[in-house]
């Protein structure tokens, strides 16, 4: 029965976490940026490395390093808040008029739950995403990749304390990254 309970706890946790991820994606797609910021812990780390073509056997050099190299994003809540404030100025031309976005989140796997799935205070998860962006008339970008998140339970709800985004692109095919992953 202990095994069954553990599996049940994991199932419930996964359902809970997925519901959170979908809610978060909806906030971004509904342009409720300030509410989205509230889902981030104050010490959040948000990292999107660039990706190199490297020789077989040297894959440890594939991604630019957090905290050391130039990355697409490598920041905390202060800069993320500045990004939101920029969009909300109404004169951020790269997002004026606002883009139409859909975040599809899939392949969700919980990789760690502490102290346990039944009463998890922290969760690490891995998922895949497709971000569809369409703006002005015919401009369209599709960004696909893997995301590794860490969630923390704060005041009974989940908050994001870490987001790592591994884009499946070398030369970025989008002219800008004015949105959040």
């Amino acid at each position: 029965m202990v095994v069954a309970n553990d599996r049940l706890a994991m199932l419930l946790l996964k359902q809970d976490v997925e519901a959170f991820l979908y809610h978060e994606a909806n906030l971004l797609d509904d342009r409720r940026y300030e509410e989205w910021l509230d889902l981030l812990t104050d010490d959040v780390r948000y990292w999107v490395p660039m990706r190199r073509n490297v020789k077989f056997g040297e894959l440890e050099r594939e991604f630019t390093r957090e905290g050391q190299d130039i990355n697409w994003f490598d920041e905390g809540k202060t800069t993320l808040t500045q990004r939101v404030r920029q969009i909300l100025t109404g004169v951020h031309w790269a997002e004026e008029p606002l883009s139409r976005l859909s975040h599809l989140v899939t392949n969700v796997e919980i990789t760690e739950a502490t102290p346990s799935a039944a009463d998890a205070e922290e969760v690490s998860l891995r998922c895949r995403f497709i971000i569809y962006r369409n703006r002005v008339a015919t401009e369209t970008d599709i960004l696909v990749g893997r995301r590794e998140d860490r969630l923390r339970r704060v005041d009974g709800g989940w908050r994001i304390s870490q987001r790592q985004v591994f884009l499946d692109q070398n030369v970025l095919l989008a002219k800008n990254l004015t949105f959040f992953f």
């Binding site: 130039i70 500045q82 401009e139 990254l177």
Partner: protein
Amino acid sequence: MAITFQPSSYSGLVDQDNGMVSREIFVNSDIYAEEQERIFTRAWLFVGHESQVSKPGDFFVSSMGEESVILCRDRQGEIHVFLNSCMHRGMKVCRYDEGNTPIFTCPYHGWSFATDGALVGVPFYKDAYHEELDKSQWGLIRVPRMTNYKGGIWATWDPNAPDFLEYIGGFRTYLDILFDGWDGSEGGTEIIGGIEKWMVPSNWKFPAENFIGDRYHNISHRSVDLVGIGPSGQGRRDNSDREGAKSLDVSFPERGHGTVMFLRPEDAQPVASYQNDPIVAEYFYQCEIARKERQGELWRILAGPGTIFPNMSFLPRQPRSIAVWHPRGPDQTEVWRWFLVDSSAPPEVKEFLRQYYIRYSGPAGLTEQDDMENWNYAHAASRGAMARRHHYNYQMGMGYAVTDFEDGGLKLEGTVLDTTKARAGEQNQRGFYNRWREFMAARDWDELATWRKNGSGC
């Protein structure tokens, strides 16, 4: 469009006398194809930085115009630039971005090339080639001219091009500010790991002319200025050291290069900057004092964005970086951006700058995002049959520049437009397109080195 442009057509497309430039030179695919021949095989192009290939066997795959090239350091420690194409059947010899290798082996038929470009391995050399293939003739195609100037690696495909320093001319003052240490020490800079690469749907000349001296587009960056991402918390850069300074646009129209800058008053002293962090603020303050001592009156120059013809642009100050606008068809540009820091700066300073660079620049940068939107839609809205009939206007500040600028004993080379009161001008852009026209029309470097005939030397 079935228009074939003859060299004589280019004077009509770039109308120097009236300060107008045809939209055709941005959107027309025939002109684009001509540019690849006439500009990108003849001009000096930025390839990379010495610090990217610091050890023997290190390589960095770069681009010259549309074409992939390999920058590498051979076993003897010498730096080379090769066309990244196998001599046998053209396969891209190296499809990695960077790394270290003893040899480049072509994946198609297995020809192998040493890091000095020599053909060293040919499968079936004995049986199929009967040992008659002269390997010494079939090494990787090497750029005929290459230079390492203060760590920056530049190359040209034209063996008759002038030396790099002659190509740069008086613009060297501004290039030095980019590559020297902040304290003025010679060549004291290095690259931070990670080269940004991204696509912008616009002609390559839009960003090149933007960086050469477009002070007029400040409105583009209204949103980031409101938010305040600068290193002292305000705006997008520190501007306190511009107090009392003159705004000058400096152009070298005979070469195509240009930059904007601020000339501090004669009695100016170093001021506080980078105030978000006391260690960083102190570092730059001390550097400014050291540079003032080292450079004397030249210290008065506060360099701004600039472009070296044709497609290398830079910000020498905040954020210190190099961009190359690689042409990828008339409607596409692949942007590469390198970031520079003082090699000897303490770790706190490098880290502070790294974070500032990331939030300012590139596709995710709060400042640069808005530039790309403008280049994208300016280009798109210029492609139509009607739009093409109307030239762009580059008349701002025409007739107000001087060639003998002097201020408090400091003489400046080049054509100088004082934009202190005007706040903007377009002489640098006019200089850029003047040079573009010359490159498109000239037969060879004898014609292109106009300064030799004019006796103004280098």
